[in-house]
């Protein structure tokens, strides 16, 4: 049942608990219990809202940063990753295979703010060997959702 619940709420975390239970053909209490258990086990780590900030008046700049680091004995990449992900500006941190080690995404109010974070905070960390910053110009799709116009029903109403 867990996987089925997750499949439904991954796309719509606001779904009514009662509706979710009906659609899964199970008891509402059972669904509530599973959700609570998965939250406790940190399988469900949060319920976020997908926002196209470009359509708002809020200025927002995002960047992807490739970071090469020196792993530490006994801790591998974990301790440097922690140093980085604790900054509030950091949106996500991934350990990556290939040409660099960590992929860090940053959200800031302006280019300057992001650049400053990289030059002042990120690059100056001891284990960081180098960084390469890529600013995001446009978001087409995020979390499996295509941004842009609302989808229209193009079907004939009756057929």
């Amino acid at each position: 049942m867990r996987e089925k619940i997750l499949t439904f709420i991954e796309k719509n975390s606001r779904i009514d608990l009662k509706d979710l239970a009906i659609m899964l053909g199970v008891d509402e209490v059972a669904v509530a219990n599973e959700l609570e258990a998965m939250e406790a086990e940190r399988i469900i780590c949060g319920y976020h809202t997908l926002i196209d900030w470009d359509k708002t008046t809020q200025e927002k700049v995002s960047a992807l940063i490739e970071v090469k680091v020196t792993p530490q004995r006994g801790q591998g990449f974990d301790s440097i990753a922690e140093r980085i992900y604790n900054y509030a500006e950091v949106e996500s941190v991934y350990l990556i295979s290939g040409g660099y080690d960590l992929l860090v995404t940053i959200d800031g109010k302006s280019l300057r703010e992001v650049s400053q974070f990289v030059s002042d905070k990120l690059s100056t960390l001891d284990q960081v060997l180098s960084t390469a910053t890529h600013f995001i110009l446009k978001r087409y799709k995020d979390h499996g959702t295509i941004f842009g116009e609302k989808k229209e029903d193009k079907r004939m109403k009756m057929l």
Partner: protein, 389 residues
């Protein structure tokens, strides 16, 4: 000037429901639960294949029976999903949708006066196609108490010495009924004993819930007397691509291919290439769509139960078929008033045969949000009807 039209064509009953449909299609603000096609887009990888083959200039005719690679994939798919074995050389014909295959099957097999058994409620084309082919349609009225499945008794009762073909439309549009293996086994004996042929329209075969689809062609002794019809519209959300197929004994398929060759030439080449990709790479897409439909189906069943509206639980297609007999009006009256008063469009059961009277076809090829909105209106409408009794 003399009469330009054929007597047979004139004799075809125009769909009484057409007028109602036209009104709905003109109403911009109507909430419709009337559509008989998936609300999903064709999975992108299939569309991508279509685009790619256009770019590559693969725009010529294919062989009459369809691209060989597609026929091979159809056979692989039918083996994998339904344990059916067909020879891509001679036992498979790619058609312009399942509808063409139905027409071809009837035309290839009917002699003047042959009787064709058509269980109703069912899709609207079987009856006119039978008449156009010179056959005589004999309607079997399916019953709600049997969950709209065809029983051995109903079948036996309809058979005369002139009966040649049984159309078997399951999973069913409009009722959502399915025929499980035991139901098929019950009628297979009669079919063999009475030496009938079956045109099995299994276009909704991928859409069954909690019950596996079984093709009658997979039962002992049935393969040689069954034309299996299926297609891409419902399984892969490919309605507009117009792609379907028929499988069956070579002797019949050869003649169907002959008609197809003269009337159609071949199914659209672009769609055929896309179809190869659909059959090979869509298992996950189909599973996801099925799961989504199933959730909506459960939602509607629950909503009808709360409303106290009588509705048997359908296990196939994407329709529910609630009974509205308690309100003492015809299906068309009910649907018309629901449209006028609440701007919700549903299809009167009578659009699918006279025995659909007292029922409505409600499609769940809509998002949960749409279904919930529509159910609020239906609930308000029914509340008023009951209050004014």
């Amino acid at each position: 000037m003399r009469e330009p039209l054929s007597d047979t064509v004139i004799s075809l009953k125009p769909s009484g429901i057409r007028k109602f449909f036209d009104i709905v299609n003109e109403m911009d603000d109507a909430i419709s639960l009337g559509v008989g096609e998936p609300d999903f887009d064709t999975p992108w990888h299939i569309r991508d294949e279509g685009i790619y083959t256009l770019e590559k200039g693969k725009t010529f005719y294919t062989s009459n029976s369809g691209l060989k690679e597609l026929r091979v994939e159809i056979c692989n798919y039918l083996k994998r999903r339904y344990d059916l074995e067909y020879d891509p050389m001679g036992e498979v014909l790619v058609t312009v949708g399942g509808s063409e295959a139905i027409d071809l099957g009837l035309r290839a097999m009917i002699n003047p006066g042959d009787e064709v058994l058509i269980p109703q409620p069912s899709y609207v084309s079987y009856e006119p196609c039978t008449i156009l082919a010179g056959g005589k349609p004999v309607i079997i009225n399916l019953k709600a108490e049997n969950e709209f499945r065809l029983t051995k008794e109903e079948l036996l009762e309809a058979i005369t010495p002139k009966t040649k073909i049984l159309v078997l439309p399951f999973p069913n549009n409009p009722t959502g009924a399915i025929m499980e293996k035991k139901d098929l086994e019950a009628i297979a004996g009669v079919i063999i004993e009475k030496d009938l042929y079956v045109i099995s329209d299994e276009i909704y075969s991928e859409l069954t819930y909690g019950r596996d689809h079984v093709s009658i062609a997979s039962l002992p002794g049935m393969r040689e007397r069954t034309i299996l019809i299926n297609g891409f519209s419902k399984a892969f959300a490919m309605t507009g691509w117009r792609l379907g197929y028929a499988c069956g004994p070579k002797k019949i398929l050869e003649q169907m291919t002959k008609i197809h060759q003269f009337a159609i030439m071949c199914a659209p080449t672009n769609s055929q290439y896309a179809g190869i990709d659909a059959l090979k790479n869509s298992d996950d897409d189909v599973a996801e769509m099925r799961e989504t439909y199933n959730g909506r189906r459960r939602y509607l069943m629950h909503a009808f139960k709360e409303l106290g509206l009588d509705c048997f639980e359908p296990y196939g297609a994407f329709y529910v078929f609630p009974c509205i007999k308690e309100f003492g009006m015809t299906s068309e009256e009910f649907a018309t008033r629901l449209l006028e008063e609440e701007k919700v469009a549903v299809v009167p059961g009578t659009a699918f045969g006279a025995c659909g009277e007292g029922f409505l076809r409600i499609s769940y090829a809509y998002s949960l949000e749409d279904l919930k909105k529509a159910m609020e209106h239906i609930s308000a409408f029914i509340g008023r009807l009951r209050a004014n009794k």
